[in-house]
Symmetry: C2
Subunit: 241 residues, 2 copies
C-alpha cells in the first residue's frame, strides 16, 4: 500500500469540491453568505456556496473563483481566505462520493450578493438563523465559527473583518461580536497598540463613528500575523471548558 503504483485500479476517482463559509459583520452581528439550491438533492434548501474544482486550479483558486462569482466581485479587497478542513465521510452527498475542502472566508463591509448565475438566490444571513443547511453544511459552518473565534485570540485575524482603514472601536466590535462578550475599551486599545505590527496609525486621519463623539484615530492592518501575547477571552464569560 505504501508505494503502490499508479495503475488504474489502485484508486477510485472522487469528485472534489470546495465549500465556503463566508463570514462578515453587518449591523453588529455575524452574518454568513448562503445560497438557495435550485436542484436536487436539497432543492430549495439553503447551503454554503461552493463548487467543483476545475482541472487546472488548486482548491484555494477554486475558492476565490467561487467567491468572486457569488459576491459579484472579481477582486474582493481585504479578503482573508483560510482552509478549514476537508470533509470526506462517505454519504455526505446522497448521490456520489464527494470530498470537499472547506474554507473560511472573512470579508469587510460586504456587498449585496447577486444570485449566482445558475438561478440560485444568494443572501447574507445572520449566523444564528443559518440552521438546517444542505449536506453537512451546518457542521462546516459551526467549525468555521469555532475556528475564527479561536484565531482571534492569537492571530491578527480580526482586521480581516475591517475595511482597509478602521478605528480601534470598530476593531473592538469585531471581538465583541464574534465572542459575544464585552471588552474594556482602555485595556483593549493598550493590548492592541502594545502588539508590534498589529495595527499602524494613519497619520492625521480621524473619523466620526457614531455621528457623535470625539473623532477616532484611524488605523491600518499591520504586517504582523500572530499575537504575542495572545488576546485571551476572559475565562469567566461563556468560554467552552
Amino acid at each position: 500500500m505504501l508505494v503502490r503504483g499508479y495503475d488504474k485500479r489502485a484508486f477510485e476517482p472522487f469528485a472534489v469540491t470546495v465549500d465556503l463559509a463566508v463570514l462578515t459583520l453587518r449591523a453588529g452581528a455575524l452574518h454568513v453568505l448562503l445560497v438557495e439550491r435550485g436542484q436536487e438533492p436539497y432543492a430549495g434548501r439553503w447551503a454554503l456556496p461552493g463548487g467543483f474544482l476545475l482541472p487546472e486550479e488548486s482548491a484555494e483558486e477554486a475558492a476565490r473563483r467561487e467567491l468572486a462569482e457569488e459576491t459579484g466581485l472579481a477582486d474582493v479587497t481585504g479578503l482573508h481566505l483560510e482552509q478549514l478542513r476537508t470533509y470526506s465521510e462517505p454519504g455526505r452527498d446522497p448521490r456520489m462520493r464527494v470530498v470537499s475542502v472547506a474554507f473560511a472566508a472573512l470579508l469587510p463591509d460586504p456587498p449585496e450578493p447577486h444570485g449566482g448565475g445558475d438561478a440560485a438566490e444568494a443572501r447574507w444571513t445572520p449566523y444564528d438563523e443559518a440552521r438546517g443547511l444542505a449536506f453537512d453544511h451546518d457542521r462546516i459552518l459551526a467549525d468555521a465559527r469555532t475556528r475564527v473565534g479561536a484565531k482571534l485570540e492569537y492571530t491578527c485575524l480580526a482586521t480581516a473583518f475591517c475595511p482597509a482603514e478602521f478605528t480601534l472601536g470598530e476593531l473592538q466590535q469585531v471581538y465583541e461580536t464574534v465572542w459575544g462578550t464585552a471588552l474594556d475599551r482602555p485595556n483593549f486599545r493598550r493590548k492592541v497598540l502594545a502588539t508590534p505590527g498589529f495595527v499602524e496609525a494613519v497619520p492625521g486621519a480621524a473619523r466620526l463613528t457614531g455621528g457623535r463623539g470625539k473623532p477616532a484615530a484611524v488605523y491600518r492592518a499591520g504586517p504582523a500575523t500572530t499575537l504575542h501575547p495572545p488576546l485571551l477571552r476572559t475565562p469567566r464569560e461563556g468560554r467552552p471548558a
Copy 2:
C-alpha cells in the same frame, strides 16, 4: 456554478490520497516516519507514508489504516491523529491530478516499523535529517512541525507524545524537544498542575527515570483538551515573528 447539477461533465475526477506526518520522540529528538519509494516517480527517494482513499472510507479512516499498515500495529494506543490541511496544487504529482489530505500523527514510544508490504523500506528518521522528500512532502512535514509546536501552547497535545503513564519530567521533555528551548522545571510543573484536567496523578506510583535521582510521581493524561491559560513559549527564544 453555484448549484450546478451532477451531470458527468460538471466535474473532473481526481485521485484522493492521505499523507501522514507521523511524529514521535526517540532519544530526546523529534523523529518522523519515512518510507522509501520503490517506484517512479521519485523511486528511491524518501517520502511520507500515505495512500489512496478506498471507496467506502473517510480520510481519517484511511489515515488510520495506512498508519497501522506502516507501523505494523493494528491498534496503536495513545495515537493522536489530526488533519493538517489539504494540498491540491496541480502538478504536485507529475503523472496525474492528486489531491492529498495531510495528517499529523503523534505517537508515544514508537515500535520499529517493518517495511511496507510493497517492498518499501520504512524507518524512523530524525526530523532534521528528513529533507529532500518526494513530492511536496518537505512542505507537508514542515507544516506539521509548525502546527504541532503551536498546538503545544494552547492544547494538551503534549501528552500524545507520552505513554499512558508518564512523569512530569517526561512531559517537560516533550515541550523542550519540540520547541528547542529549555523550560524552568518548578514553573513548568506548577503550570501543568494548575490546569484542571491536563494530567491526573496515578496514586502511589513512582518511577525512576534516569537511573538515578528521586523517583518521579506518575501521571496520566486528563480529560482536558485545551489549555487556559496557554503555556506560552517565551518570546525571546527563537520564535517566528
